[in-house]
Symmetry: C2
Subunit: 234 residues, 2 copies
């Protein structure tokens, strides 16, 4: 998939017309980071925000005690650090690091802001998209407290699973970071619980392979997780 397509598929830009996106894409760069490399550090001037093409990124900060606290984990198709672009400080409040080899689209703040200033339609679309994103976030709040650990894991798999072309079995696959504790931290559960949750999902067609998870019966899983997208306000 090309850069423009990927940008368009991001929730943030979904309602933006293709012509505008293609002009934006000309100002973006695709970048690769090997596993473990830092993308930005806390305090850095926030010159870009990002969309993940492939791989996983963790946002973290270092506590007073010197230990790393993972703030969030982002995967393929997700954007991050948009908010930093609008900050008064114009600097990143956390650090970002590649958890696996990563491909990113880097969107420059300057062009983005200029576009907002010039094109009020674009500005309104961004406001709409960011507002909608809040719905999604608050939905997550709901899920954390109202769904069981296996349901949360299932919902996560559904969010990131993609059609596997190779084996034509109609199977879906989720590529996970090597370190599963990264994922369990995104789901706010312990690694042990993550492990056990996967076992409980086996009856719904979830199978664990070395670097990936196979979801064979997506409907069954969706049913188990009781995915229902509530509408939302504020």
């Amino acid at each position: 998939m090309n850069i423009s397509e990927t940008i368009k598929n991001t929730p943030l830009f979904h309602s933006v017309d293709m012509e505008t996106i293609e002009r934006l894409a000309k100002h973006c760069h695709q970048k690769h980071f090997v596993k473990g490399r830092g993308v930005f550090s806390m305090g850095d001037s926030a010159e870009h925000f990002f969309i993940i093409l492939k791989g996983w990124i963790k946002l973290y900060r270092v506590s007073k005690e010197g230990e790393e606290v993972i703030i969030h984990v982002f995967g393929p198709g997700e954007s991050f650090a948009e908010a930093a672009v609008f900050n008064d400080t114009k600097s990143y409040p956390v650090s970002a690091q590649a958890v696996e080899d990563v491909a990113l689209i880097e969107i420059p703040r300057t062009y983005f802001i200029k576009k907002i200033e010039e094109d009020t339609g674009f500005a309104l679309r961004m406001l709409g998209a960011i507002s909608s994103r809040q719905h999604y976030l608050v939905e997550q709040i709901e899920q954390v407290s109202s769904r069981s650990a296996p349901q949360r894991v299932g919902a996560f798999l559904l969010r990131f699973c993609q059609r596997e072309e190779m084996d034509s079995k109609g199977e879906w696959v989720v590529y996970l970071p090597y370190d599963k504790s990264i994922i369990s931290s995104r789901l706010n559960i312990k690694p042990e619980t993550f492990s056990r949750a996967l076992l409980k999902l086996e009856p719904y067609g979830v199978a664990l392979e070395k670097g990936k998870i196979i979801v064979s019966d997506i409907e069954s899983l969706r049913d188990f997780c009781d995915i229902s997208s509530h509408g939302w306000v504020s």
Copy 2:
């Protein structure tokens, strides 16, 4: 406090200059709703969003089974339904009702959108504010899973407590709705747990009176709840 002051104190408008706010305030109306009255219903055209001066509002929808599901609860100083204003559908996705006698500021969509279209600085400020709000939301996600029930209750009290002028004791007070289950639903805990949590907060200077809660040692409580405002990205 007058309308302009209140608007300015809302996170959404905090970085907006007073002159702009005063012009905005001219287009706003203050409204009162008695306990139990509906503010808007799901599907209504979203002509306004709101800031709460006094009282509590619940957002809810009615499930297929016909029972009311509380989506969120908002209190004094909070704004709600801003997102509906940017929706493509331009209609409220949930219903809103006054839980106690309520005073609201009603901000009209039309003027708000016009302002965004005319004033790119204003648009950027709104984007910044809404992004920041996301930080707050995601912080809440964190709190739901990483803090104990008493800590969550404490954090809630700190969020809404205000200096009591009368008794000059330097005490702080939180006025709660009569129905405490409204509050426990905001905190994602059961009424029983809410009740027990308040008991556990007694050693930190929290006392329950009829329609209100007295917080006598705000520092101690803050310490117990381990309030630390993480910065945030995305």
